[in-house]
Symmetry: C2
Subunit: 403 residues, 2 copies
Amino acid sequence: PSRFKAKLITVAKSIKKLAQDDPRRIIHSLKVGLALTLVSLLYYVRPLYDGFGVSGMWAVLTVVVVFEFTVGQTLSRGLNRSFATFSACALGIGAKHLASLSGEKGEPIILGILVFLLAAASTFTRFFPKIKARYDYGILIFILTFSMISVSGSRVEDLLEMSYQRLSTILIGGAICIIVSIFVCPNWAGQDLHKLVASNIHKLATYLEEFGGEYYQNCSENEEEGCGGRDVSKNDKSFLQGYKSVLNSKNTEESLANFARWEPAHGRFRLRHPWKQYLKIGALARQCAYKIESLNVYIGTSDTKVSPEFHGTIQEVCMKMSSESGKALKELASAINTMSDDPFSSANAYVESSKTAANELKIALESASLNNVDIQAILPSATVASTLIEIVSCVEKISEAVH
Amino acid sequence: PSRFKAKLITVAKSIKKLAQDDPRRIIHSLKVGLALTLVSLLYYVRPLYDGFGVSGMWAVLTVVVVFEFTVGQTLSRGLNRSFATFSACALGIGAKHLASLSGEKGEPIILGILVFLLAAASTFTRFFPKIKARYDYGILIFILTFSMISVSGSRVEDLLEMSYQRLSTILIGGAICIIVSIFVCPNWAGQDLHKLVASNIHKLATYLEEFGGEYYQNCSENEEEGCGGRDVSKNDKSFLQGYKSVLNSKNTEESLANFARWEPAHGRFRLRHPWKQYLKIGALARQCAYKIESLNVYIGTSDTKVSPEFHGTIQEVCMKMSSESGKALKELASAINTMSDDPFSSANAYVESSKTAANELKIALESASLNNVDIQAILPSATVASTLIEIVSCVEKISEAVH
């Protein structure tokens, strides 16, 4: 029992953490409960119940499968489901009528062939990447409704009634979802995308701001040992790990951008907000993260001895490059956050000063006296320096894309 | 009309390309058609139809939503749906019985509260990453069935009948899906994962094998211009772009590994095949791809003049490192493909020789005379060299993980 208790406490803790990480999760759960309870009321309002009969369950079903975390996704599923049901009902009744012309024996054969062809063709269209991104669910519902209507074995008049009931209950269910999703503490996919991109850039900025201090502090502290000789394990420095989540952010960003396109104007976002621009900025941020990944190798490695002499020559300017580009990114992140469309004066200033630092580095390298220096000893510093130069140009690109 | 014709041709071409890229897509589409036609037959077999009545449509619905591209995903959805329906029916009938004890007026209120609580709690559990990965669909169906059963307004006896029909039709639909999916040209998620990981490593190998030639050939051809001075646009070299798809392979690999776990033993894969190992190899391959990404910057850039003198010193050994580690990866990829469990003698030999080359490089760097050399001029070569050293150690890790 004490073991059981321990397990229970672990579960309770993980629930608490999940809720604290994003309190909207709790609100979303309550919203789903609310929408379902609302749709259940349909059953208890007698006139409605008598009108819809068994089909009332389609409304329940619709709420469960359509209600999603973001408004955009809910809208996308709701609209997909409604249009797909409508067109499939129309086509299904047409197919039924066509098949019934060929007599009682031919009907099932013709219907079977039609179902086979339509299902195979629709399934194939789901492989088109663009269609999959936006209409996957609609096609699924289309196949489903078409087969249900055409094989149901009823007469055409009954089918009309059945289609009407299915469509109207789905519309009711979809409407409840969309209303609850928009008007009760909405989670906008667009806003999520906006925040995600800004926070990714902010993470890169934090890394770059800390990198200079982290990497060169080691050098000045234990100069006799060379640089990067500190024993602190990398994992202790959580601020240096933040950028890792940027590396694999592509899928999240793309799906959020997809859902954002379905959303109506809200808050500071107009209807035709340039969501594609976020994907562009996101891609550039990932490029920058790849470069940081190769920088990160040099923190905490102590297997190579680094020439302090050479190091001293470029330390100051490298630290400046790193911290200035970090500051530029931080300004860009907050510019995205506040959506200020001014000429980003402060961000631009930082970009400029990081570019100046990069040029200074180039000059310092040219003028550095390198008589009888062990190349192997300067290799790590040289690599760090050239990676930093690349990061500076990457930050400049991000700044242009944000602008 | 000529415009319409042109558009039609474009669509036809993209369909052809989609089918040629992966012919299994066509087979999958036909399989979905087959499964749907099979389940439709239920309606035409009179005794069955009379037995199931309207519920027969649940079988159609099940086939459409359960049938997925890979066997693992189909099994996962089918089993999730069956177990969720079973437990939700049981709980729903229990809830209905409980509520009916409190009289006609209290019943809807108690049921409403129960539906609200269960829906909210279940929705919240869907946020747990582990549960989301494996049981997301099951929880959805659980909420759906529970609300449908408990608000349906029928008596308990009718509910038993309804649950029995729903469960049995879902089992029939699920069974048809699983049978068609396994016995008609199966697409195993495990096999896909296996091939994906092997082909990713193969792509990295191709890049590394070509890199040396590509980068240093430029130097020897136009020695007076320094290295990397060729004007050929990067996009012409498709073999140098293959590694890019490895950068974002994480999500695909993870979902395939998830589905693979549901699959029975097939072909060369036992039941408890170590799928997690593939994720580990995949993560290492991504690490290696990040490093290649930073190498790739140096191909085709012509803005920095590189010292040919220094370049010559390390060219041979760098080319050797690159090509040997490329060969090692190629051997590893084919070892994964053939699942040969021998000591990977050839791969190991290549790994060893690339390590030797890395050591030679270190020695060459130490002994290189560097009097009055412009550091900026050697910076690109130095960075390439140190990145190659990292790649060699990364390849060694991959080799250990494959072993």
